[in-house]
Amino acid sequence: MNVPARFSETGLLDGRVALVTGGAAGIGLGLTTAMARHGATVVLASRSAEVGEAAAAGLRDEGLQAVWIRCDVTTPEEVSVAVTATVEAHGRLDCFIHNALDGSVVGPLEEATDEGWATLAATSVRASYDCARIAHPHLQATGGSLILLTSAAGMEGSAARPLYAMAKAAQRGFAKGLAAEWGPDGIRVNCIAPVAMTPALDGAIRRDPSLGERLVARTPLGRIGDPVHDVGPVAVFLAGDLARHVTGQTLVVDGGGFRGL
């Protein structure tokens, strides 16, 4: 199946500034790449300087506007520093995307531990709360938007990763309530629920080739999505004026595998 090598630049996000947590790798890098190619200045907020600087440099090599800044979303002070630095350097914040997650907790419910849940909750529900509060005044100033990365697992439930699904569902519930709360402030809040070929998924498929076959088999569009070309444009849409009357929604970007909404 032919997939376009890249989208042409549209200028949909010209003059806009977007900060993406976990924006230097995987799905997050897909979001930042697509948004930058459509005109945004992107801030890749992540923990690893080595990975983040390299990713930002790669985007700049394309002639795009991209910088990396250190940000551990489990530390609200670091989120605050990242947001403040972004606004000081670029004058505004139009879109905050919370994508980062430590979602390594797997296994049945009976094996759930306080430590495992705490790690997952810190980067999902608690980080959503912290990021939202810190970004609020800046998003209100620009009439911007908050986007959370969630998962179809949060809507379907998962026997293999029940706590991951729970955390992702909670983020979706967070977005719905916050959309109602922040609508009067002119801030839109939405979710993206992607399935795409990231290094993590590629690794999982290498370990279990049947996983890739099962994923493709349940996908009407017949392939696993690409972070830049399939998921990224949805963030471009949600962050831009074309979606100015869209809030409280979840866009599932998985080739049609989940159709339950």
């Binding site: 049945p108 009976e110 306080d114 939202a132 909670a170 109602a180 709360e181």
Partner: protein
């Protein structure tokens, strides 16, 4: 019926941890025998509180503590399933949540987030446990769960089709009886909306 969600220790903002439910649950099982039905009513915190005004402790009480409670309940039930096979007797775990979990509500962001999380937990438990224990979420009018000011039924422009939020002692109890009946054994993981016909999901 087990209703551990009203422990004041969980509403102060601090989470008691996943093990808080287990000992009490096991004691109840020891005294009363293995239950065919467990009903959990997660803590809800009154409001409204804007997220920008909500303290970290307030957020923990509204969102994180109810999810920890729910995981603790699920884990306790899961342990029971593992230790005492049902031997053909239907078992069900029911969570009762406000419909705020479905549509979200301004001022109650944490409540809605926890509710959606618990709905996903119910689905995951259903997929994991299969016929050993079925699960259901009952989504009810917020008016039945909040002691103080709760979310309005703003999810619909229309009043409840059946005229009101319902009576827990009759309307909801009958539904729970229905879910406890073995004839309900083929439904699991779903959300049953019992709010008198306000929220009608697409």
């Amino acid at each position: 019926m087990v209703e551990p969600g009203r422990d004041p220790a969980t509403s102060s903002g601090g989470s008691p941890g996943l093990d808080a439910i287990g000992p009490g649950f096991r004691t109840a099982v020891g005294l009363l025998g293995v239950p065919d039905l467990v009903v959990h009513v997660p803590t809800v915190t009154d409001g409204p509180v804007a997220i920008t005004d909500q303290s970290p402790d307030g957020w923990a009480a509204a969102c994180e503590a109810p999810m920890v409670e729910a995981i603790g309940v699920a884990r306790a039930v899961g342990d029971l399933i593992g230790s005492q096979p049902a031997n053909g007797v239907a078992r069900r775990l029911v969570w009762i949540l406000p419909t705020t979990a479905l549509g979200g509500s301004a001022g109650f962001v944490g409540v809605g987030a926890a509710g959606e999380g618990i709905r996903a937990l119910a689905k995951g438990a259903a997929r994991q446990w299969g016929p050993s224990c079925t699960t259901t979420v009952l989504a009810v009018s917020p008016a039945l769960l909040f002691d103080g000011e709760g979310p309005s039924d703003e999810g619909s422009l229309s009043p409840p089709a059946l005229g009101g939020p319902g009576d827990p002692a009759t309307d909801l109890a009958d539904l729970v009886d229905l879910l406890a009946d073995p004839r309900s054994r083929f439904t699991t993981g779903g959300t049953l909306v019992a709010d008198g016909g306000t929220w009608m999901a697409p």
